[in-house]
Symmetry: none
Subunit: 417 residues, 2 copies
């Protein structure tokens, strides 16, 4: 028994998009312990798609299709599968009703081309799509062959997979010996430095420990193969504890934790509040903090002081200091933090001022120079200088600046426990 | 004549890595005008790899392999290919010399396992690897079939492709006809609605027109096959012009344009400035606008008024109205836009207030209800109600809200030309 992934879309063959769906599904199959030996990409072409179905249905028992479920004429995955297995399509009134309702809620009318999305082969079950209009299907066209179809939109595909397909596969007996992973997350330490500290753990057989890094964050994936989550947890727990002890404050959370969610929990525990003053991140820090549901309990708001005049008028930054040392300086970072803390009447004020590039850098203040200001209770006022010069990528400098600002607050919150 | 990409590696089947090599090679084949209909991923397993070679060599004339060229026992791409075509391997002394030298430069000695990397099928040519130790090969195992092998390391693969394979393919006559694509971008229209309007163009032979959608944005890719960029442009231009006429204001730009960059250009042209007031997006609107290099020319800053008290104190929103109609209302959206425009002394003020969820929704104000306010010159004050209820995803509701706000400003800027 093995599963095979078939991604349909000329945009993949042209290299217009990266095939993140294949990676996601591959991880999911591995987690469920379902063998998976082949992935195929084919364009929106019925003849070639049929050839792929012929090959795949001959060697695999679970076929997972993504893409080609949309309303346009080049979306032909469903009809080609039905055609291959010689099954007529039938219109499902519940799909029509669902699409009509979704359009109505957006104040639009369903178009005739959407009708196509309500056609699935006789005997197939609908795989509901809560987020989009294109449902998928679960179909057994013959014994020992199960077909799943998903839209190509990653968000929709993932939700459908989690909500319907995972329970279905588990009900079929999959996922008994599972691979259970904890992702431990770190900020403020390089991948190579962390790997060296935990070197003796990188060749364990079960659980395994593997390092990753992306956008300034380092992760260690600790994976255990076990018959139950409890057993996996028992294997992972001592290794996790050792890693956390080694990493100290550089460890900030696990799995779905983010710097913003961890800081949010700490603020709620302490009953404290936060405001932000942003220059080069232009709202990215506030956006990251408010990405957490329930952040209104501790995040009051902030000022995007992109222009110096706004730093003066809304934050009370000294015009003299701005003229003398410039906006990208520790003095201004501190004044911004204090200004927003006082004006928004919060426990903490967090500020960022820097040069995100690509232009605006000078010899003494190059692209990537960023100051973070932190104002807190008991007249605490700090600033931190960072040089992200080597990144040379505007979006990355902005992202890492926002993360680093939140990380400074996290360390401060933990140290004043 | 068609090329096929075969990526070998169990790490791809486990979802440990994203298959960026397939996307890169797909783009490169498209640029050279080489037809490409299939991509396959298979693990480090000789039997299954042979089956894949059998299928691919039957339907394609150029096979491009990535991965499985390293020194470890699970790297077996070269020997499996040779085995399939019944050709013996021979050791190439020049590869041994090259590997020895590379190790020496790093102060190391070549290991016995590296010797394996010097074996290629009789009659094959070496595809040199300047950056790593694993060379690839160019081989014609039989007439009308050319095989390329590359290591899986993206940096090495790309360099080898550019330095050796592109010149080779061009010498074979490829690259005379290229595929040149324009991506036309739309906001405020559903994919199905746009597809219906341009339905008569979706089956053109050259250029081809294909729709996509992602995160609220719709794109049409117009691709022409032509001997030169100029000729492609000549083919694309009338189709693009027709689409733009049909789409009207729903068309906002092409290729690297974004809503934020387009609005930025319009503001610069007019010498006007912008500020923002954000509630549910928490800084995401400002972040999107300042993602554009040079945005400081027109974007002054803004207020993140997450808490109602901040709406009152920093934006001058009426406490009475807040109590009476609530923060998520057209009245408050307008007051926020006017407030930020006046306080930051900008031409335009753009505001967002809404319920991003997952909590906070009520019967009358459900999750996804968003008001956008726009204040401009000549006492222009507008508000727009949107119901993104069906999305049910906090991050997506916030993203689409920010895009929609920028889009309203774009339409206003275009209509007051």
């Amino acid at each position: 028994m093995a599963a095979e992934i078939i991604c349909v879309g000329t945009e993949l063959l042209l290299g217009d998009i990266l095939n993140t769906n294949a990676q996601y599904l591959a991880q999911q199959l591995a987690d469920l312990g379902i063998p998976h030996y082949y992935q195929t990409v084919v364009g929106d072409n019925p003849e070639r798609l049929k050839q792929v179905i012929a090959i795949a249905s001959d060697r695999s028992q679970i076929l997972i299709f993504t893409g080609g479920l949309g309303p346009t004429p080049d979306d032909l995955t469903t009809e080609t599968i039905a055609d291959f297995f010689g099954s007529p399509l039938e219109e499902k009134p519940e799909i029509i009703a669902d699409i009509t309702q979704k359009y109505a809620r957006r104040g639009r009318e369903m178009t005739p081309s959407n009708r196509k999305q309500a056609l699935i082969p006789q005997g197939a079950d609908i795989l509901p799509n809560r987020l989009g209009t294109a449902p998928g299907m679960i179909w057994q066209p013959r014994p020992n062959l199960t077909i799943f179809t998903f839209p190509g939109v990653p968000l929709e595909m993932r939700q459908m997979w989690q909500e319907t397909v995972v329970p279905f596969l588990k009900s079929q007996g999959w996922g008994k010996e599972i691979i259970y992973s904890r992702h431990l997350r770190f900020w403020g330490i390089a991948e190579s430095a962390l790997a060296e500290k935990v070197y003796h753990l990188l060749n364990l057989p079960n659980p395994t420990v593997a390092p990753y890094a992306s956008k300034g964050e380092v992760k260690l994936r600790v994976s255990a193969k076990a018959a139950s989550a409890q057993e996996a947890d028992r294997l992972i727990q001592p290794v996790e504890a050792e890693i956390r002890q080694i990493a100290g404050l550089n460890y900030f959370g696990a799995d779905d934790d983010s710097l913003a969610s961890v800081v949010g929990k700490l603020l709620i525990e302490k009953g404290e509040t936060l405001s932000v003053a942003e220059s080069c991140t232009g709202g990215g820090l506030g956006s990251m903090l408010t990405n957490i549901p329930g952040s209104s309990a501790y995040f009051m708001g902030g000022v995007i002081s992109y222009d110096n005049q706004v730093k003066i008028s809304l934050l009370g930054v000294s015009a003299e200091d701005l003229a003398q040392v410039g906006a990208v300086s520790d003095i201004v970072a501190k004044q911004m933090a204090v200004g927003v803390r006082d004006r928004l009447n919060t426990t903490w004020g967090l500020s960022i001022t820097g040069i995100a590039g690509p232009g605006g850098g000078t010899e003494t203040k190059p692209v990537g120079l960023v100051y973070i200001g932190l104002a807190g209770p008991n007249d605490l006022v700090q600033s931190f200088e960072h040089r992200f010069n080597s990144l040379q990528d505007r979006a990355l400098i902005r992202h890492i600046s926002a993360c680093t600002a939140i990380d400074h607050l996290r360390r401060q919150l933990l140290s004043t426990n």
